[in-house]
């Protein structure tokens, strides 16, 4: 029979070439839409011939197999035309149904409006939650006709306060990832959920007869009350079963130290709103951990200087520069393995009895004096990758300084007790104690340290069941693979760091019939028919003791979290510091870290995160080996030179990145790359650092490094990271600021407006006058704004090759600059969106008037009119314009249509684009206010970058409204315009950076 491709293969692509770097052709699949079109066009005999041909084609067979797994086995190889046609009719109908997304069957409650008010074009927001390391962050997710398109933080949720990190922002793309696993697979063959539940129920009955002997559950950290309840039931039914918990992005020492401090499961939390001095012992507290967003907000508030306050002083002691470290007033690069000794030395200097090693650097005493001067108003934060001793030492110092109860609180733990570690699981597997292994979400075949040899161990289990979003490394070695529902597709709940119970409600039916961990465990509990909604709601129904449950449930879903569920503080014990558990590594140390944007590898198929410039390096699409400038000099390597990193005889090869401020004799490697089971985005890029990770020294180890002589092409978005004598970022010491609050513009002559060829046409801007202020004093450089902007504005991903050619598309970028000593540099972060200049150089040079000024001061880009001369970009002194050199937007992958914001044009090839101040949000607010007959209120419009910012560094609003935040901020003396001397009159203004250095450390001051 004729090949289907001759009928339908060639028409769709037209003249559009997809970007090779991103789009490999997916395996040959029938295009059901094409077929339907074909059939709709067909008439009479021709119609039937098409259908016949289709029925007998290989693709149709494959399609049926994918849609109706199991059926294909029933269709004999010889053509039973009638039955296949019947199935096809159903498939075609179903394909139509699948094209529109479905709202979950169960009642979900919108945040603001009732679902019956669904108006096409008017988005609804639903409260839900995403968990990282088991802890929840409350979210509000924008839904356009039941498609989740954009994630925002839930302003009322304690762990979010309205902000998110880029992981939450990018998570919405994962929903539509075309590489997600779509089918239940049994040893590589297509199977069904029904078949699995049957098999697994039998297995459960068998296990029950042995009291669960040989049953092992491996999951990430969990705080979900429903899940914990399920696990409790499981432990009752299968008393001999074991629950193992592992997550490569979570250091178990944090919990074990907290347990020692409180005597039971606990969580040490900080209240930075009361801290005047913060010491970080390699803690990236502003960026990592379940409470980071809250800490960032508190810290930013404490850095306020405009009303004469004394800002908080941050000392960062760390090996590799972190997001928090870049904001430090004093940063001390030390080896990661030396942090425990320094913690003990600091403890001793603060009056804690600690067996501190001698030879403390001078600055330890100075820092200790500063801490002691600020008793009760200081805090020492231990690093998330540091061993128990550092956590205990930090607590002891805080206790000695009287910070407990003020800046430090010990909260009752919400994580389950009696869980086991990954090492124990491997032991049990190797000893033959595990027969049935259920892996919920984690990907240990890839992420387990190489010394555990997890894959070999896993194969000793008789039955391995894997719940995962991708058919990845672990699934390939499992007997059963179950597609996991994305968090936006299923019901669950979880606790925030402070115990606040947060409900995770779905926004969309699982696109690929994904299942949740609740449903898998429910099979073991003998209730295979229960779905997540029944399980979660059922749990709360049982537990709810109040009046009307439906009201309670409605309110909980609406708010996204349960009021008054935060857990109280408990008393910490006085901890005697144990002997140092880690001595500094002699010689070179290798520091292991999750990748800044890809984490442990779980986001490796996410194009947004792959292309997000990593905060410290501005690298994209690769992991690097970070080394100090001195070390690079010794090794005679520069960025891009390949380095072989060897630990315990195992080695990996990765490209060098010379990172100013990195500690000497120390190199940092990053997890998350070198994958083979990820997808078309994440496969085969970078090196796999797990291959040199030793389970006994998982976060820092002795190793060696050597130059291989090879070169590697790296794609970073910022080549030059010094300011080259210009002053894009203007900074001052606190004393200088007090004397000259206008320090950024102190030596600048104001530019008279009259110096213009077009002086008579100065527009008065009588209506709205939009403007933005970015406070450099609190920007951490966390880069959440980049991804928020990408999600909001349908910004295309261009791939590594194009980034390397200087063609990334981000509308807002975060510039990173260094100044001073290379080994101990000052670091600056500067977010750069479009400046919306009043005298915009881009506008005058466009020959077709494709970029024009609005009467509210917006510099607007008219995509339809753009012919692509690129003159506007050349003439933009800020270089914020981005050009579609190819057809970057993916117009062909249907699953990605869903993630796009319908309020923003998807750009085509050959047009310029740039930041619009989120003009779609401005218009929406203006329409609303017009209908209500009033002006837009201050704060009614939040740009995407502003909304996501954890430190509220970005302010946007109407400059004509003198009471607005943005108008007030632009009155501040430390305001300055970037490249103001060009007379562009930028509407985006910056607030200068002020450093609160310690006088006693002047010799250690980092500026040149």
């Amino acid at each position: 029979m004729s090949d289907m491709h001759s009928h339908n293969g060639h028409s769709r692509n037209g003249g559009l070439i997809p970007l090779e770097a991103l789009v490999e052709k997916p395996s040959k699949r029938i295009d059901i839409e094409e077929l339907r079109k074909k059939l709709a066009e067909g008439r009479g005999p021709q119609f039937w011939r098409t259908l016949d041909e289709a029925a007998e084609s290989e693709e149709m067979r494959e399609y049926v197999e994918q849609e109706f797994p199991g059926l294909s086995g029933q269709i004999p190889q010889g053509v039973d035309r009638r039955s296949l046609l019947k199935v096809m009719a159903a498939s075609l109908a179903m394909a139509g149904a699948a094209a529109c997304t479905k709202q979950p069957k169960e009642l979900i409650v919108p945040y603001v409006r009732q679902p019956e008010n669904v108006i096409p074009g008017v988005p609804l927001f639903y409260a839900t939650a995403m968990t990282t390391g088991g802890y929840a962050r409350g979210l509000l997710v924008e839904s356009h006709l039941n498609r989740p398109t954009k994630v925002e933080g839930n302003p009322d949720h304690p762990a979010s306060l309205g902000a998110t990190t880029y992981f939450e922002q990018a998570s919405v793309l994962d929903v539509y990832d075309p590489d997600r696993s779509e089918n239940v697979l049994n040893e590589g063959r297509l199977s069904t959920w029904g078949e699995f539940t049957g098999k697994f129920s039998t297995e459960a009955q068998e296990l029950a007869t042995r009291k669960g002997e040989g049953l092992a559950i491996l999951s990430g950290p969990m705080t979900s009350p429903t899940f914990l309840d399920q696990m409790q039931s499981l432990a009752q039914q299968f008393p001999s079963s074991k629950w193992y918990v592992s997550d490569p992005t979570v250091n178990p020492a944090i919990a074990s130290a907290a347990k020692k401090i409180a005597g039971r499961n606990a969580f040490v939390s900080y209240d930075l709103s009361k801290a005047d001095v913060v010491v970080s012992l390699e803690a990236d507290f502003l960026n990592c951990g379940p409470a980071a967003l809250r800490y960032a907000r508190q810290f930013a508030k404490k850095r306020a200087i405009d009303n004469g306050e004394t800002p908080v002083r941050l000392y960062a002691i760390e090996s590799s520069p972190s997001v928090s470290g870049s904001l430090a007033d004093h940063r001390f690069p030390v080896k990661s393995s030396a942090v425990p000794s320094i913690a003990y030395q600091l403890a001793a200097a603060c009056g804690v009895s600690a067996s501190a090693p001698g030879g403390a650097p001078d600055w330890v005493n100075i820092v200790a004096q500063d801490l002691q001067k600020n008793k009760g108003r200081s805090v020492v934060i231990p690093g998330e990758w540091q061993p128990e001793s550092v956590h205990l030492a930090a607590y002891a110092i805080n206790a000695a300084l009287g910070n407990i109860g003020s800046t430090v609180n010990v909260l009752e733990g919400v994580e389950p007790e009696n869980t086991h570690s990954l090492e124990e699981l491997v032991n049990d597997l190797n000893n033959g104690h595990v027969e049935t292994l259920v892996i919920l979400g984690q990907n240990p075949v890839y992420t387990a340290p190489v010394t555990l040899n997890f894959q070999q161990a896993m194969r000793k289990a008789r039955m391995v069941v894997r719940l995962g979003q991708f058919f990845d490394e672990t699934s390939r070695w499992s007997h059963w693979h179950i597609p996991e529902a994305h968090y936006l597709e299923t019901w669950s709940d979880a606790r925030a760091f402070d115990g606040t119970i947060t409900i995770q409600q779905p926004l969309i039916e699982p696109l690929y019939n994904g299942k949740s961990a609740h449903e898998v465990i429910s099979i073991l509990l003998g209730k295979p028919d229960q779905n997540s909604h029944e399980i979660v709601k059922g749990y709360w129904q049982n537990r709810y003791k109040g009046g009307n449950f439906d009201d309670f449930w409605q309110i909980s879903l609406h708010d996204g979290w349960l009021a008054n569920t935060a857990i109280g503080t408990i008393k910490g014990n006085a901890v005697a510091l144990p002997a140092l558990d880690q001595q500094p590594v002699n010689g070179l140390e290798v520091v292991y870290r999750p990748d800044p944007t890809i984490a442990d590898g779980k986001y490796s198929n996410n194009g947004w995160l792959q292309e997000c410039p990593k905060p410290q390096t501005k690298m994209t699409w690769d992991n690097i080996v970070a080394i100090s400038p001195k070390q690079a000099g010794q090794l005679k390597v520069d960025k891009g030179d390949m380095l072989r990193v060897t630990v315990n005889g195992k080695s990996v090869v990765g490209p060098t990145w010379v990172l100013p401020g990195h500690a000497e004799d120390s190199i940092t490697v990053y997890f998350g790359y070198g994958r083979e089971g990820s997808g078309r985005v994440g496969n085969k890029i970078g090196y796999n650092a797990y291959l040199i990770q030793d389970a006994s020294t998982p976060y820092v180890a002795a190793g060696s490094v050597a130059k291989t002589g090879e070169q590697y092409r790296i794609a970073n978005t910022q080549e030059t990271q010094t300011m080259a004598g210009r002053e894009p970022v203007r900074d001052a010491e606190l004393a200088e600021y007090r004397e000259h609050p206008n320090f950024p513009t102190r030596f600048e002559k104001p530019q008279p407006y009259s110096e213009s060829l077009y002086k008579d046409v100065k527009w008065p801007y009588e209506g709205y006058k939009w403007g933005m202020t970015i406070d450099l004093n609190v920007c951490t450089g966390c880069s959440a704004c980049i991804i928020a902007c990408q999600a909001e504005n349908n910004i295309a991903v261009v791939g590594k090759d194009q980034v390397a050619r200087g063609r990334h598309m981000h509308w807002i970028r975060v510039d990173r600059y260094y100044s001073g000593d290379l080994d101990q540099p000052e670091m600056y972060n500067q977010p750069i969106p479009c400046m919306h200049c009043e005298d915009a150089p881009c506008e005058v040079v466009c020959p077709v008037a494709a970029t024009v000024h609005s009467n509210e001061g917006l510099n607007e880009m008219v995509y339809n009119r753009c012919v692509g001369t690129r003159y506007c970009s050349n003439n933009c002194p800020y270089k914020v314009r981005r050009f579609n050199f190819y057809l970057y937007s993916d117009w062909n992958t249907e699953s990605l249509y869903g993630v796009r914001n319908p309020d923003v044009t998807v750009r085509s090839r050959g047009v310029m684009e740039k930041c619009s101040y989120c003009v779609q949000r401005i218009q929406e607010a203006k329409i609303t206010s017009d209908k209500e007959g009033r002006r837009v209120r201050d704060g009614e419009i939040l740009t995407a970058c502003q909304q996501v910012c954890p430190t509220e560094a970005i302010t946007f609003g109407d400059l004509n409204d003198k009471g607005s935040k943005v108008a007030k901020s632009q009155q501040l003396p430390r305001k300055y315009g970037l490249l103001d001397d060009l007379n562009t009159h930028p509407r985006t203004q910056y607030l200068g950076y002020v450093r609160n250095s310690n006088e006693a450390l002047k010799s250690n001051k980092r500026s040149a």
Binding site: P728, R805, G868
Partner: protein, 471 residues
């Protein structure tokens, strides 16, 4: 009337030397036959070098077509342009070709008005060169658009959206400057051709050739009233074309001077662009005419006098260009502006420093050899120098376009420009296209003005007469 057998003169005709614009012994008929003969030569009798040259040029035209196909199909990303370097080879080549296109009109119009009779042998040729160079130049602004199929939006045409081009943009001025220049050059060239087309009509041996030339000759009969009107029209057009020589490159330089990019934003650009354009135009004339006069054995018509005069003009305009460079450097230092001074320092010592060094060598240092009379009168030396100057002028545009853009105001967005094979292919392809047009022109139209050379014969005869009478 040319007889049945048309071929080139059998042996080398000697050059009459630097003082004569025509070898002695020519009469009206010999001039017609010598110049017209080149055109009417049967294809098989063409010099081998012509055939080889035309074929190679044709290959390059195919490369151009392929590069354009890839460009239209896939997008501008096939080139090396990026952010911040939004303009690359396309604009470099555009300005280079436009510059080359200056010599023709300058020789025809300005030298005509200045009554420089040595221009007669080379004006037709350089006018054709101008036209073809403008054709090559005109391609690039369209090719470099992100959406080239919408190039017509740059023209002010009435449309239902009531949208007009944006008159403040220098690119819009370019549209008018270049299209006006192209049109006037074409008309000027064609008017100058009319009497010769009539000659060709008269001497062509075959009827179909006669017919074609007859149509093109617009009924020219050579009557006194024709000549009277012709001379008026030619003078008027020369007057019209003269300011255009200055205006085109001035407007092209505005593309840069109007912007705010350090290295572009310079008031000296208009005069120094015009001087540079004439500089490169004469270089290109010499590059082409020296081989042509050798291949077609026309040393008696294009004499050392022509070559030396052109070389002197190159030297002169080259010095203006050198002045331009030094003032640019001086003012970027003298301005005290950190962006300006960094720009020039980076231009000289940055990653593209080698292009600047080559530029100075090609455009300033080496051409100083032209001070030496011996060099000016050594044909091969002038030819090599003309090539060097062509390269130098291309580098000048590269340096201006790329090194200014690649490091502008904010260090965070500095970048590098690396041309791709499609950049090179398109550039080489337009050179092939240009040369192919030149090769075809030489074969289809009299490349030297027949009637003007006849005038020279006439004048010389008079002079001889007067000389004899005086004796």
């Amino acid at each position: 009337m040319i007889t049945e057998k048309i071929e080139l003169p059998p042996e080398q005709i000697p050059d009459p030397g630097p003082n004569r614009i025509l070898s002695p012994g020519h009469d009206y008929q010999s001039v017609s036959e010598r110049i017209g003969g080149v055109v009417l030569l049967p294809l098989v009798n063409s010099p081998k070098k012509w055939l080889v040259g035309a074929f190679i040029s044709f290959i390059f035209v195919n490369i151009l077509m392929f590069c354009m196909y890839v460009l239209f199909f896939r997008g501008i990303g096939t080139w090396g342009v990026n952010i911040p370097i939004g303009w690359g080879f396309a604009i470099v080549n555009f300005v280079w070709w436009i510059g080359i296109g200056h010599a023709g009109t300058l020789i025809s119009a300005i030298l005509f008005l200045l009554k420089q009779d040595w221009r007669t042998s080379i004006n037709r040729f350089s006018e054709a060169m101008t036209l073809f160079a403008v054709a090559c130049a005109g391609m690039f602004p369209i090719l470099h658009l992100g959406r080239p199929w919408l190039a017509y939006w740059l023209f002010p045409y009435p449309n239902s959206m009531w949208l007009w081009p944006q008159p403040r943009s220098p690119l819009e001025w370019d549209v008018f400057a270049v299209s006006t220049y192209g049109t006037v050059s074409l008309v000027f060239w064609y008017i100058g051709l009319v009497p010769d087309l009539a000659t060709m009509r008269d001497i062509a041996p075959k009827m179909w050739q006669k017919k074609i030339y007859a149509v093109l000759a617009l009924g020219w009969r050579g009557s006194a009233i024709h000549w009277h009107r012709y001379q008026k029209a030619y003078l008027l057009l020369a007057g019209l074309a003269t300011p255009l020589v200055l205006s085109v490159h001035t407007v092209v330089s505005f593309d840069f001077a109007i912007s705010i990019i350090p290295g572009w934003h310079t008031t000296i650009f208009p005069p120094y662009f015009v001087a540079g354009a004439i500089y490169s135009g004469f270089a290109m004339v010499l590059t082409l005419i020296i081989p042509m006069r050798a291949w077609y054995n026309m040393r008696d018509l294009v004499t050392l006098r022509h070559i030396e005069s052109a070389a002197k003009l190159m030297l002169g305009t080259g010095l203006i260009v050198a002045y331009g460079y030094s003032m640019e450097a001086f003012f970027s230092w003298y301005s005290g502006d950190k962006y300006e001074s960094f720009m020039y320092w980076n231009r000289m010592t940055g990653p593209y420093g080698f292009t600047y060094a080559m530029l100075i060598a090609c455009n300033i240092a080496i051409p100083q050899l032209l001070w030496i009379k011996k060099v000016r009168q050594t044909i091969w030396a002038v030819w090599v120098l003309s090539i060097i100057i062509n390269i130098g002028m291309w580098l000048e545009r590269f340096v201006i376009v790329v090194t200014s853009l690649h490091r502008d105001f904010l260090p965070s967005s500095w970048g590098m420009y690396i041309p791709t094979k499609y950049d090179w292919g398109t550039y080489a392809g337009t050179i092939g296209f240009f040369l192919l047009l030149m090769f075809l022109f030489v074969r289809m139209l009299p490349s030297i003005s027949i009637f003007e050379v006849r005038e020279v014969v006439h004048h010389e005869a008079h002079e001889r007469q007067e000389l004899l009478e005086a004796q």
